[in-house]
């Protein structure tokens, strides 16, 4: 009898048709994280996470959730299931965005105020290196093989290529004004860097560090100054690229083979960051001024829902399977 009772919940889990993942959204002004269910698209709960949370990421095994608490000048680490704080990591002042090495360690943090990228070991909680970069570092990307970390500096207008073994800058690429985000495609053959004021996305060949194309945007009925590219996400097959266009309230859908814009989807207000579910069925976007998250059906390239979250949503990450 007891055995059956124990087995029953396990069987119920096996019978679950789609795997639901938790979606975590930082609310910059609300000082909390809203957790959504990727299957029902309903809010599970809202949890305090420190002051001015912005960048957010999760370990590849899904056991640790990292949040840049910008006004606390550190990274807070949470249990993604209970949302209890486990410990903190040193980050340097005003951490905004970071990227985790594909192996899950270390963490590379952009410090906007002191022009450094801080490298933190997430296990020993020690700072491994502080790498001087350009003025106002912000965007962080990592190559799929983990050998190169990209940092973009908002004022110097460069993408810095950092060797993850030596912690040294091996190349700099000048892009357009105020680069905000860097994202590799899955096989590492292309690097996309968005420029918020320049209004473009530079496509860079990582092997030669040369710009092979500049993607520009034009939305009918929208003034050009409102088109401010920030977040970039690429599907695993490299065929679709999504670019969040800030106060134009649109997400551009780009053909990842030709790098031509196919469509502009109206999401919410001031869209900055995005995250896919592991199966790439959905893409979630954070809309800072309408205080909601839009859910994009990736295959249909359509916005299917908007979910109200906290005050000024900034970053988003989806738990792995």
């Amino acid at each position: 009898m007891k055995h059956i009772l124990v087995l029953a919940p396990a069987l119920a889990l096996l019978a679950e048709p789609a795997l639901a993942n938790r979606v975590f959204v930082t609310n910059e002004k609300g000082n909390d994280v809203t957790v959504l269910d990727s299957d029902t698209l309903e809010v599970i709960g809202t949890y305090p996470v420190g002051n001015r949370p912005r960048g957010i990421t999760i370990s590849p095994d899904g056991t640790e959730l990292y949040v840049c608490a910008s006004d606390d000048n550190l990274v807070r680490v949470f249990d993604p299931n209970t949302m209890e704080e486990l410990h903190t990591l040193p980050s340097g002042p005003d951490p905004e965005l970071f990227v985790l090495h594909p192996s899950g360690n270390p963490l590379y943090v952009a410090n906007e105020d002191d022009n450094l990228v801080t490298v933190v070991d997430v296990k020993t909680k020690q700072v491994l290196a502080e790498i001087p970069v350009g003025v106002e570092p912000e965007g962080m990307g990592v190559s799929p093989d983990g050998k190169i970390v990209i940092n973009t500096s908002e004022t110097t207008n460069m993408a810095h290529f950092i060797d993850t073994d030596t912690f040294e800058i091996v190349a700099n690429v000048l892009v357009d004004s105020r680069p905000r985000f860097a994202e590799y495609n899955h096989d590492g053959t292309k690097l996309y860097v968005s420029a918020e004021i320049g209004g473009t996305v530079s496509v860079i060949d990582p092997a030669t560090q040369e710009i092979t194309k500049k993607i520009t945007f034009e939305v009918p009925g929208v003034l050009p100054e409102a088109i401010q590219p920030v977040g970039v996400r690429v599907t695993n097959d490299g065929k679709k690229v999504f670019v969040a266009l800030g106060p134009s309230n649109r997400v551009a859908v780009i053909d990842g083979e030709t790098d031509e814009v196919k469509d502009y989807l109206l999401v919410g207000q001031r869209v900055w960051q995005m995250a896919f579910t592991p199966d790439e069925k959905y893409l979630f976007t954070t809309n800072g001024n309408s205080n909601d998250v839009s859910v994009i059906d990736v295959a249909a390239e359509e916005v299917i829902k908007s979910v109200a979250v906290g005050q000024q949503p900034w970053g988003v990450v989806v738990a792995p399977n």
Binding site: I197, V219, P220, G221, V222, L223, E225, A226, P247, S248, N249, R250, L265, L266, G268, Q269, N289, S290, S306
Partner: protein
Amino acid sequence: MKRILFALTIAAGPAWSAAGTDPEWPCIQRKQPHLSLGQVWAGPVPDDRVTELARDPRIDALAARLEQRRLPMEEAEAAIADFAADADDARLTALMVAVMGKIEPDRSALIEGIARYGRSQVALAQRIEERRAQMAELEAAADPDFDAIDAAEEALDWDQRIFTERQQSLTYVCETPVILEQRAFALGRAIAAHLGE
């Protein structure tokens, strides 16, 4: 004296530093002089006929009602649904054009007002600086005129008080364009929900 200088530095610090591209813009929020239809509307692009329709008195009156922020969104949505019952996509688009025709000029005037507000704060800060210099001069005189010093101090106190109070309301003032954008976006979403019905 020292106290005043300190207070001024604190009050002026964050407001002028985060101005972005326009040095006279006093808000932390990025200055966006105009709002365009495409930012809040993914429906049909209005043609001449729709622009003409937007002047229809019934549409214009409804737009004027919807624009009022004191009208709760639930009631606005209900009014839009009533209108949509016998309105085609052209009329719905015309309603959105009419709504934007009201919100956008209000917002632009507000942006201009905030810029003026910012400029007048800069001017006031300069005047406070001058008054301080004047007071220092009066105090340093070999035979100080205490009546003049008292008068100068009172004038300085008033300017300082006005400056600080205006600075405190700036946070709220800067939020207002965003509130108008949110209203336009919410109305756009509510109207677009009835397209193609």
